[in-house]
């Protein structure tokens, strides 16, 4: 096998290996590390081989690991996921790439009927260690079916785990942890930040990562709590910076894990701030944000100074690109929700 073509990493003062990476490159290196660590790990999807995926996230992997470990598959989502199930039964750890969020639905039956249920159906004898990577969310000016946020469908299904990364450090670690996980993981990647240079982060590949199924407090604050995941995390952080100038201190939590939901840090935060704003690009009706609002009011009823407010996409089909800036939660809508909460 040829030596992997990766950037020469630098070293920090503690002697750890650090690299400044975009989110997309971090995922690529994470996938590479997982493939090196375990010969049973396979990549499969449309165009993931020679092309490196339409977003180049699997770039170079087929060249170095061969066509039997990085499969340019037929154009068939049910096929990708359905055969991954059989490969997992056989002891492989397939990592499926769905090209765009809006194309996961032909594979929906396989995900909810087979992937999610086989472990329970076999009393735990058959494991489903497969990962389904989904570039998701909007903001890239794309045509229909390329900007959706379907994560709530999967969080709703028992037997699946659902996570979303929001930054390069998490991207590098979370993808490896998802691949190591013995349960099926839906891995949602904020596609609009794949290649953002201003989102580059120092990734310490010798560090000990935080557990996959835990949310993280990104910024501490006292005025109100803002919870987000995936692409909305940056929006929440930007809102917090803007709010700071107005003398408001927002606590920002990146959920990271959508199923199981780790809401303990959220409860803790809401008990201190008394106010919660939940941000997500998905339509709000019967979504993850509904779930969070319901649980927080149940757990923190006496601490709340205002109802939990949600900033979502609207309950409409994802609009044409010229309208998406109005559809997507942005800094102003988050700040407006914070103000409404404070005015209660």
């Amino acid at each position: 096998m040829a030596a992997p073509a990766i950037n020469k990493p630098g070293t920090d003062s503690a002697g750890n290996t650090v690299q400044s990476l975009t989110l997309g490159k971090a995922l690529n290196l994470g996938l590479r590390a997982a493939m090196e660590a375990d010969p049973k790990v396979l990549m499969m999807g449309e165009d993931v081989g020679k092309l490196g995926g339409v977003f180049r996230i699997t770039d170079g992997l087929q060249k170095d690991f061969g066509e039997h470990r990085v499969l340019d598959t037929p154009l068939s989502e049910s096929g990708i996921i359905g055969t991954a199930v059989g490969l997992a039964v056989r002891g492989f750890r397939p990592v499926c790439e769905i090209q765009f969020d809006g194309f996961i639905f032909p594979g929906f039956d396989q995900i909810v009927s087979q992937v999610a249920k086989l472990h329970a159906r076999t009393q735990g004898r058959v494991k489903m260690p497969l990962v389904i990577r989904v570039p998701f969310g909007g903001g890239i000016g794309a045509v229909e079916h390329h900007s959706e946020s379907p994560e709530s469908y999967f969080a709703h299904t028992a037997g699946l785990k659902v996570v979303s990364c929001s930054n390069a450090v998490d991207a590098y670690w979370m993808i490896q942890q998802a691949i190591q996980c013995d349960d099926p993981v839906l891995f949602f990647e904020p596609k609009r930040y794949y290649h953002s240079a201003n989102m580059k982060a120092e990734v310490d590949t010798d560090a000990t990562p935080m557990p996959l199924f835990q949310s993280r407090v990104l910024r501490q604050g006292t005025t109100a709590t803002v919870v987000a995941y995936g692409p909305s995390v940056k929006v929440a952080m930007d809102a917090a910076t803007a709010a700071q100038e107005e003398g408001k201190s927002l606590e920002v939590i990146d959920l990271r894990t959508l199923s199981p939901l780790d809401l303990a840090p959220v409860y803790d935060s809401v008990r201190r701030t008394g106010r919660l704003v939940v941000v997500s690009e998905s339509p709000s009706e019967a979504s993850l944000t509904s779930e969070i609002a319901a649980k927080v009011q149940q757990e923190c009823f006496y601490s709340l100074e205002a109802p939990v407010l949600r900033v979502n996409g609207f309950d409409v089909p994802y609009p044409p690109a010229k309208l998406e800036e109005h559809f997507l939660p942005d800094l102003d809508r988050v700040l407006d929700a914070v103000d409404r909460s404070l005015a209660w």
Binding site: H68, T73, P74, S76, S78, G79, I81, G82, T83, A84, V85, G86, L87, A88, V89, R90, G91, F92, P94, P106, D109, Q110, S113, Q114, L118, H119, A120, R121, T122, Q123, G124, R125, V126, K127, M128, P129, A158, G159, K161, C181, D182, D183, S259, P260, L261, D262
Partner: protein, 400 residues
Amino acid sequence: MSSPETWTHPEPREGPAATAAAPTAEQVIAGLRATSEGGPELVQLLTPEGERVENPEFDRYVADVTAEDLRNLYRDMVLVRRADREANALQRQGQLGIWVPLLGQEAAQIGAGRAMRPTDMAFPSYREHGIAWTKGIHPKELLGIFRGTDNGSWDSNATRFHPYCIVIGNQVLNAAGYAMGQRFEGKVGDDDGEATMVFFGDGATSQGDVHEGFVWAAVYDAPLVFFCQNNQWAISEPTERQTRLPLYQRARGYGFPGIRVDGNDVLATLAVTRWALDACRHGNGPVLIEAFTYRMDAHTTTDDPTRYRLSDELEAWKLKDPIERLRVNLVRHENADQAFFDSVQADADALAAELRDYCFNMGEPPIEQMFNNVYAEPNPVLDAQRDDFLAYHASFGGEH
């Protein structure tokens, strides 16, 4: 829907279609069904009258079958039928919520199942009680599914018999993936190779996943035998509502061999499946087998076949009964005597009694079972939900 006059003819035509006369609906249906009389391409080694017919291509795949092997095939079919009838009766007595009868498909399943080796993997649909039998799964292990105590309790890794699949057709892709894995692991290429077999009905061939399974197995040369039991009906819908072409001919469009076998002929099914598995284990890619057979009972115990099929049809198929034709053959060639048939009958009765007894004594599943094994790794949200519910339940003294 287009009018019958515009239906395409099931036989591939020579020359431009526009000049050929359009067939009638009757001709189309005849093309799909006349093979019950044999049909030019139906592989048959035992006639409905129990006569052995020579087949230069397939005889060699059963050349080693001894009189004792024939008796064992007979025994398998009788026992599987007896278990099926007993389970059907248990449903009628309210002991099972539903049952999926196998009646009439014994030869297709025993022939296919006995062609498999222990290393070969099977992905069933939900009517594969005969395949389960050949994989060493006792019929009582199937009862939990239909009584509602579990979703199948056998060890699918150890037996190489995957859980039953209720969603029509989606196990076909799972099987394709498994077979791809066998190939990736280098387990094909010689006589010791492994193969996978996937079972589905004629109705399933209309599902996208079956089509995708054909594509995937073909392009990855997966060692996969697609075993379609064409029992003529998908609940109330006849085969001609799924296809305008004999099903085995579809394989050609995907680039691998397709073959139609008399699914009521256990010997022919054994031969054809051995041939197909052999091709797979030697690395020649997938094969589609259409076992031409008939479901002689209802689709399930909730179905009423008198609403959609004529009793004439059933009577005609009874004459092709898979068990009777082997019995006649055994008697005619003096390969079995009355003592043998009596002993098989006694075994069948004992099996039925065992099944009944087991069913009556199955008991209730523990409540926490539904929370178990949802995930391989801990899930705090679910764990909390389980603990809350179990405490709630316990607060009634476990009586709620």
